[in-house]
Symmetry: C2
Subunit: 311 residues, 2 copies
């Protein structure tokens, strides 16, 4: 195979109450990686679009190609060579799993070009390594859903124990990205290392409620469980108009609304595409009222995850 | 109706990872309350068996009758009178929801005698008041399952939001009560008020895993999720032979084992009654090896909760 193109979707990590344990994929936006085999060994980045020149072009420092090199090393392959083009279709530091989507597209593409030596599940630790390169820690809550699709639960990181749960077919996600930027490292840095037992109990109750609500298609329970008493109160301080935008979403049909990943994007979940669109318009308008431009994406939950676009 | 007899089952609260949010009812043991109407207003305790004389005989101080008085007051009934007999079939301070079973049997019995003015769900806050009288705080993780049956999740205490989730039919509970006593207030007192964010994340992962595992009848996932990194490490210090008994349960067929409520009883969950019995025998033997007598109960999950035994 001399040419492979792969797409990996954006993702919403945390999903209100499930810090570091919940994530789901959307249908768009997403990043695309193109690989073209070359005769000489080694991986060369020939182009990156959509990053405004901000991602490293050095193959070892760029998380997409860094992950590919890590995978080749693991497989003991030394004579492989390819050229890489990365199309970034979402902003960096957006909270939509931008670095995860790129890394996932990269590992899926190279695995395809190599003849699929690894399964999707087996690719997970490699894609997580991309997160480590990009953000300093190997989280799975964006990489997992971008790679596997669906609503992902990470029960444990050590050992890694990840599974998907069914979600109602009529559940739609609204993603709104305000044109401001938060560094993922900063967003993690401001979190407290200790949580009150009371808040831990409240959060566990919501985690249990969200899992049960999604599995039973109980929209009321989903709505009541989209409460984050630990992370949102801290991180929302970094997002101008957070309360107003969240309220606008809920007032216009959303089941709930919270920060997507480490922000500044906000996500809402709604029953039906119309509610998701109404909520999105209200969120965008509320940002606009404060002079903040934003981009809007509405889609159902992506059940398949990353896809190879070439035959 | 001049005579009512009601039974309310023992319960396992917390269920490893779900401190204050999970609980389920077993089929036995359980407490029985008998009410006999009398002409004069007022509630009188005529007998309590099985408590070794330790429960208050004063109707206002006893949690069973205290709850009945609270219910009558709420309903605005001033002319009602009855004699109460309480049969305690489990030890006090056992971690099997002893006070909850008594309070639940009490509210179910008086509600029946009054012609069922309240639904089961509506009785919950009154039964919780019994827990407040007995232990100082109004928890629902024993009262909820004893009253409603099944595997109960308390998503929120304020406002109270409680629901049940389906469990596999082949899931059995082993309850072993060592002949030592822990005061519920003490068991709560030794807990730290702060939890590390890392442990909160681990516990949330297990909460999500246990809910999904029970709902999907995924016994492996149930087993992997029966991990408590917050409460068990602290409370187990109060229970002699804890580690050995837990290990014996797991070595002899249990999916997992942890402290029942605030202890000292231990519970195990197993797939099939034979595994539950084998695990129970091993747990009992391990306590016996250390010179500790214990009582053993094996039953499936009680799906109905408290029952009225009179017609």
């Amino acid at each position: 195979m001399n040419f492979v193109k792969a797409f990996a979707p954006a993702t919403v990590a945390n999903v209100a109450c499930g810090f570091d344990i919940f994530g789901f994929a959307v249908k768009e936006p997403g990043d695309t990686v193109e690989l073209r085999r070359r005769d000489e060994p080694g991986i060369v980045i020939t182009d990156i679009t959509g990053d405004e020149g901000r991602l490293p072009r050095n193959a070892e420092k760029n998380s997409v190609t860094g992950v590919m090199l890590y995978l080749l090393k693991h497989l003991g392959i030394t004579d492989f060579g390819c050229e890489v083009v990365l199309h970034k279709n979402m902003p960096l530091g957006s909270g939509m799993g931008s670095s995860a989507a790129s890394a996932v597209a990269g590992v899926v593409a190279i695995n395809e070009m190599l003849g699929k030596p690894l399964t999707r599940q087996e690719l997970l630790p490699f894609a997580m390594e991309g997160e480590r390169i990009a953000s300093g820690s190997a989280h799975a809550d964006n990489v997992g859903p971008s790679l596997l699709g669906g609503f992902v639960v990470i029960r444990s990181y050590n050992p890694l124990d990840i599974f998907t749960i069914p979600v109602p077919g009529d559940l739609y996600c609204t993603l709104v990205h305000p044109d401001i930027e938060i560094n993922t490292k900063d967003a993690r840095f401001i979190l407290r290392n200790e949580v009150s037992l009371k808040n831990t109990i409240a959060q566990m109750g919501n985690v249990a409620g969200l899992v049960a609500g999604l599995m039973q298609a109980d929209y009321d329970l989903i709505s009541r469980s989209m409460v984050d008493v630990i992370i949102e109160p801290v991180r929302s301080i970094l997002i101008p108009q957070f309360k107003e935008v969240k309220q606008a979403a809920i007032d216009h049909g959303a089941l709930g609304c919270s920060i997507s990943g480490s922000g500044p994007s906000l996500f809402a979940l709604s029953r039906g595409v119309e509610n998701a669109q109404k909520a999105g318009a209200a969120m965008k308008d509320t940002f606009a009222d404060a002079g903040i431009a934003s981009s809007l994406h509405v889609s159902s939950i992506n059940q398949g995850g990353a896809v190879v676009l070439t035959e």
